[in-house]
């Protein structure tokens, strides 16, 4: 079960704002908490949802103990979106779609995202590297992310339509 669900839990934690190393720890805690709870395996989807709830509460609890008063968006909306994106494969598919969609981006946009997420460059450094203003770098990345989002949504919708007998 751990092998099956751990990447889904970890990715879920990341999308609600948990940084990577903390997500590692909370993923472990989530399965320990599951072990200590009155849990019955019914279906993979139910288990995944249950694990997400545990992970969410653990994350919030950690933040509270750390004295952080960050509010989290409506969890049901987040859950719905993540379920639609992650499907039943713990998000492996959406990562694959993301990689495919990256190919459709303009070179400069792809470069900007690469600098930001791969090399952890600041916006100022990205702007200098691409010889644009900081404002321009921000807009470039925002547009790129919007394109990626649309592209992923399009792929998901198209998959769903194929599977729909109507």
């Amino acid at each position: 079960m751990i092998t099956q669900h751990q990447s889904g839990v970890w990715r879920y934690l990341r999308v609600i704002g948990c940084e990577a190393t903390l997500a590692d720890d909370i993923t472990q805690e989530t399965f320990l908490k599951l072990y200590n709870s009155e849990f019955e395996q019914l279906s993979d989807a139910a288990t995944a949802s249950y694990l997400r709830k545990i992970a969410f509460n653990l994350y919030i609890s950690y933040q509270r103990r750390a004295g952080r008063t960050v509010l989290v968006d409506d969890i049901s909306v987040l859950d719905t979106t993540w379920q639609r994106w992650a499907g039943s494969d713990n998000g492996d598919g959406v990562i694959e779609k993301l990689n495919e969609c990256m190919e459709f981006l303009a070179d400069r946009a792809r470069e900007a995202l690469h600098l930001r997420f791969s090399e952890q460059r600041s916006r100022k450094e990205i702007a200098q590297s691409l010889d644009i203003t900081e404002h321009g770098a921000r807009n470039l990345m925002q547009r790129a992310k919007a394109q990626l989002k649309d592209c992923i949504e399009g792929k998901i919708n198209s998959e769903n339509n194929i599977g729909d007998p109507e």
Binding site: I2, T3, Q6, S7, W10, R11, R14, V15, A20, D24, T27, Q28, F31, L32, K33, Y35, N36, S37, E38, F39, E40, Q41, L42, S43, A45, A46, S49, Y50, K53, I54, F56, N57, L58, I60, S61, Y62, R64, R65, R68, T69, V70, L71, V72, D74, I75, S76, V77, W82, Q83, W85, G91, V94, I95, L98, M102, L113, F117, S118, K145, K149
Partner: protein, 667 residues
């Protein structure tokens, strides 16, 4: 969401394999833990029982919980709330001592399932609690019918909830107050003045077991007190709606018209949700002599200015307990209110317009709104973000967007729809209950009372829910809510500290526990009405306007407009020099201390009572208590001196009593 995925796709952050670590920790834990079942062993038990329990518990619990950090149980003693879509696991789902998400109000377990019945045109839509009608601008929530419980059961529940907090903190509440004290505070809170000696003695003559409820019923329901009850509560609500200065010379509003509307509503027992609807959706003329007169219109007329922002913030505060004012200029960092929410609420007032008529009156109306881009079908408003960017806003009620954005009145009367949405919102009941509780105890369940939300902890969440739901069940009969509160155990507690409740001091910022009655200064209106009664001034039901003007002139000395965006006022009836001078030498005080036949003092002096009885009456009239032995001795020794004028002494004593702290305090 996308950032996290990009981080994984392009960066080095990838899902770890925690299998070995988890297994190792489970094994290490199992060595030291006694009685734990293995996962395999648990799987061998029948899965059906817990699932059935979980399914029953989850029935009616809507999705969309707004979760705040403080609302999540501590990890060390964590009970995980679940809401699984595919047949749920449900370990006990308990709210902690913080807040309860707003969406839970319709499914809270304060009432048993047997008490709750959902009705509506589309029972299939119950899971979403909405009835779908594509033709309407909004989906109005289905009305939830909640069974109204017996008064005694509700009062017992209030007592149990309050006492439970005392027990948790090992706190001994203050003793019960004297019946005279309870009578005084009940008169002050319910009809806004101190009781007369006759009224006090009448109360004390009731049978012990029934005297409390008898007095409450008398003040709430007896025709002899309807006028005073309605006047008092119209003042309370008018102050909340437009402040004490609302309707002053520079304002468009006719305060007397608004007071009359509120007074009539309370006198006729109009459900408060209906009152709220009429205030928000009102159109008409502010002048009571006009054919188009609508007193309710004065609420909006008072607050409308160059724009409608003050109406938006006041409506949110008073009727929904939502402080949106800060979000007018920026998203609120603490309360999760985004700037667009304020302007989406403000867009409901876009059709509102006023006209100054030739006869000097003002008329409130709605007109088609075409938006800045002259589109009637898509009538937008704009607001500026702190970054300087201009954003568009359409009507949305606390995040619920309208199905259409038309500015055409015939298609989408925005203000009327806002009134409908407010009326159906559970937040209306919460905001009303919080205000009432605060009126009776000096502190509400949240501080401040008009800022509800996950960012603001509720002192007694379950009690708050119970009262809100039962107020809805009573169809907003606020007299009932008042009765429950006044007859509660907490309202009978003395204002004197017990040996262990000195930390129950919300005045110093702690959360109120209501283990004692919090002493506070009377509102200036309450002092005024009390002095009126003691002066023997009869209220003429046909001279409301004159009396209202006299009261406003008296109050005007103590209230100043702060000229803030929120329309705040300062109340200087708090020991200010003006208060002292008015209470010591003011015209009304001179009347009260006059030996006129009508005044309380005059009647006592002229009576055939002996001096001790006269002194006792003076104390009862001013302070609702008899003089102490020491007080009696001092005064009566003085009065018995043949060289002094006894009448003059009683007059001075009377003046001193009315200028004492004890008189101007509710205790």
């Amino acid at each position: 969401m996308l950032d996290a995925l990009l981080d994984e796709s392009l960066g080095s952050a990838t899902p770890p394999d925690v299998t070995d670590d988890v297994v190792r920790r489970i094994q290490s834990d199992s060595v030291t833990t006694i009685g734990r079942q293995s996962y395999t062993a648990r799987k061998q038990r029948s899965p059906l029982v817990p699932w059935l329990i979980a399914a029953v518990v989850l029935i009616g619990i809507g999705t969309g919980l707004i979760v705040a950090l403080n609302n999540v149980p501590d990890n060390n003693n964590m009970e995980i709330a679940e809401n699984q879509p595919d047949g749920a696991q449900n370990p006990d789902d308990k709210p902690n001592d913080g807040m309860i998400a707003e969406t839970q109000i319709q499914s809270n377990a304060n009432d048993s399932q047997d008490d709750v019945k959902l009705i509506g045109p589309n029972e299939g839509a119950l899971e979403n609690n909405v009835a779908i009608n594509d033709m309407e601008p909004f989906e109005i929530p289905i009305t939830e019918t909640i069974a109204l419980k017996e008064n005694s059961i509700i009062i017992a529940s209030i007592n149990a909830q309050i006492e439970s907090a005392w027990q948790d903190l090992d706190l001994e509440p203050s003793k019960y107050c004297q019946d005279e004290e309870w009578c005084r505070r009940t008169y002050l809170r319910l009809i806004g003045r101190v009781p007369t000696v006759d009224e006090l003695e009448s109360f004390l003559s009731y049978d012990d077991s029934a005297r409390y409820e008898s007095l409450v019923d008398l003040l709430l329901n007896d025709d002899r007190y309807t006028e005073e009850f309605s006047r008092h509560w119209s003042t309370v609500w008018t102050n909340a709606l437009v402040g004490r200065r609302g309707g002053s010379e520079e304002s468009l509003t006719n305060r007397a018209g608004l007071l009359k509307f509120m007074r009539d509503s309370f006198a006729r027992g109009i459900p408060f949700d209906q009152v709220a609807f009429e205030l928000i959706s009102a159109t008409g003329n502010d002048d009571p002599t006009s054919n188009q007169y609508n007193g309710a219109a004065n609420y909006i007329l008072c607050l409308i200015g160059d724009d409608t922002t003050l109406i938006t913030s006041r409506t949110s505060e008073v009727f929904l307990g939502q402080k949106l004012q800060c979000a007018q200029c920026h998203s609120h960092p603490g309360s999760k209110v985004a700037q667009n929410q304020f302007w989406e609420m403000d867009a409901f007032f876009a059709q509102t317009t006023i006209a100054q008529l030739n006869d000097g009156s003002t008329s409130l109306a709605n007109v088609d709104y075409v938006g800045k881009s002259k589109s009637l079908e898509n009538a937008e408003s704009y607001f500026e973000q702190p970054t300087g960017e201009i954003r568009v806003a359409y009507p949305a009620f606390l995040g619920q967007k309208a199905n259409i954005n038309s500015g055409e009145l015939a298609e989408f009367d925005r203000r009327e729809w806002l009134a409908k949405l407010v009326r159906c919102s559970p937040l209306l009941a919460k905001s009303v209950v919080n205000r009432l509780w605060s009126h009776f105890f000096g502190f509400g369940f949240t501080q401040p009372i008009d800022d509800l939300g996950p960012h603001n902890p509720v002192s007694h969440p379950e009690l708050f829910e119970l009262l809100a739901r039962q107020t809805m069940a009573s169809e907003y009969d606020l007299r009932l809510t008042m009765k429950w509160i006044v007859l509660s155990d907490a309202f009978r507690r003395s204002s004197t500290f017990s040996p262990t409740n000195d930390f129950d001091s919300p005045e110093l910022g702690s959360s109120p526990l209501f283990s004692r009655y919090y002493t506070r200064q009377l509102q200036p209106e309450e002092v005024y009405q009390s002095l009126q009664v003691l002066a023997g001034i009869q209220r003429d039901p046909n001279a409301f306007r004159t009396q209202e003007l006299a009261q406003r002139a008296w109050l005007g000395r103590f209230v100043q407009n702060m000229d803030t965006d929120e329309g705040n006022e300062s109340n200087l009836f708090d020991g200010d020099i003006r208060q002292s001078l008015t209470m010591m030498n003011g015209e009304l005080m001179q009347k009260v201390t006059d030996l006129d036949n009508n005044t309380t003092l005059g009647k006592i002096i002229r009576s055939e009572m002996e001096n001790p009885a006269k002194l006792e009456h003076l104390f009862l009239a001013a302070l609702s208590r008899k003089p102490t032995q020491q007080e009696s001795t001092v005064v009566l020794d003085f009065v018995s001196d043949p060289s002094v004028d006894a009448v003059q002494v009683f007059q001075d004593i009377w003046w001193a009593l009315l200028n004492s702290n004890e008189f101007i305090l509710d205790h």
